[in-house]
Amino acid sequence: MTMRGINRYVESLISSRRPRRFRASEDDASLARTAVTLRAARPGSGEPDEEFVTALHKKLAAELDPPAPGQAAGARRTFLRAAAATGTVAAAGAAGAGIDHALGARTAAPDTITPSHGIWHTVAASTDLPDGAVRPFTAGALTGFVERAGGQLRAVSGICTHQGCRLALSGRPAHLVCPCHGATFALDGVVLTHKFPVPLATLPQIEVRETDSVVQVYAPTSDL
């Protein structure tokens, strides 16, 4: 079975077609990699197609440039064609520029959600949240997790800071996992792992208190 998969893969590369996916063994993978190297060595094969370069530029412009009437797409395209491989590089000078990811910077201190019109919502009885326990909750517009650790209460948002998927509680020690792209967060909201090339924000904190033997979080009034 894998034999056919890898053979088809190799033949696709040789005849310049997109190879189909297949379930590869370790041997298949090293064979595939060698095939890629040999194929990539065919003279001139890595050159980008001019049409592709233009089309991607257009797509990026649509994504990145705010729609401004003064900025004609046509002018940009001409500019692109005229540009030599060396490109236009402006003199820098400007300190303070940088890329978060490349420099390993992290987003600032975690935010606390402070709704303009909030009330205290009861999310658990004190007895249901012994030391070391974690409970998911929904309160008004907020979804989150409340934890008692070392006698301290803490609540964080249960929504992934990447694309807004609802996090799931998992593992030992307990942590939060995003079902969409697998990012994981500690119960204090700190990012544990993710596979994005850009930094992921810490989960916002939610105010939490204990009164009259119940645990409450401060969240928007649900019927606003």
């Binding site: 040999l38 990539a40 060595a41 590089v89 940088g98």
Partner: protein, 197 residues
């Protein structure tokens, strides 16, 4: 966060100052390299599209996938970039993005982890360095093969011959050419693995 750039900016001036007496032209050149940066995404794109595409092609060996992955890299990398930034920082970031994108690609394509972007190519910092590097690797593999194995792979991969054409060139049947190619590939993969380690 601004440490990297402040440091490089700080180096530029004293360096220029000490060498000023020696050679004006050299100083201008050094300054140009030191201060090279990209003002906007357009400049980043124009200067790196060739590099990223060639890297991707060198790692996936086919144009449709190379184009998709190149698109993915720029879409993911450009938005969070804060410009102006130095050429070095931008390229390091593009490479980091390319690595992630490739890892995802292999997981999807073959269902397993493959070393996505080995250092050899990552160190290629201009588009013009990628082609020669991949050619060097391919020829290193080919050179270590027995003649018949080398010939069939050369005909098929480098010259783009069909199996029938390759069979004819080698004076064997199509069935024999297929077997020969298969064995040659297995041997080549072993050699490549040996070269890697």
């Amino acid at each position: 966060m601004t440490g990297g750039l402040t440091a490089s900016g700080g180096q530029g001036t004293p360096l220029g100052g000490t060498r000023a007496g020696a050679s004006g032209a050299l100083v201008t050149q050094l300054r140009a390299v030191d201060n090279k940066s990209y003002a906007d995404w357009d400049a980043v794109y124009r200067d790196n599209i060739g590099l990223v595409h060639r890297l991707m092609f060198a790692r996936v060996g086919n144009r449709p996938d190379a184009e998709d992955l190149t698109t993915e890299v720029f879409l993911a990398a450009l938005r969070p970039m804060r410009l102006p930034s130095s050429v070095g920082e931008v390229r390091a970031y593009l490479m980091a993005t390319a690595r992630t994108v490739l890892a995802r690609y292999w997981a999807r394509k073959l269902g397993l982890q493959v070393t996505a972007l080995s250092e050899d190519l990552e160190q290629a910092t201009t588009a013009n360095e990628v082609g020669p590097e991949i050619a060097r690797q391919a020829h290193q593999i080919l050179a270590a093969l027995p003649d018949r194995y080398r010939q069939i792979l050369q005909l098929r991969f480098l010259e783009g011959c069909t199996v029938a054409e390759a069979a004819q060139a080698l004076g064997v049947s199509v069935a024999n050419a297929k077997v020969l190619q298969h064995r040659a590939m297995r041997r080549a993969a072993q050699i490549a693995a040996g070269l890697d380690s």
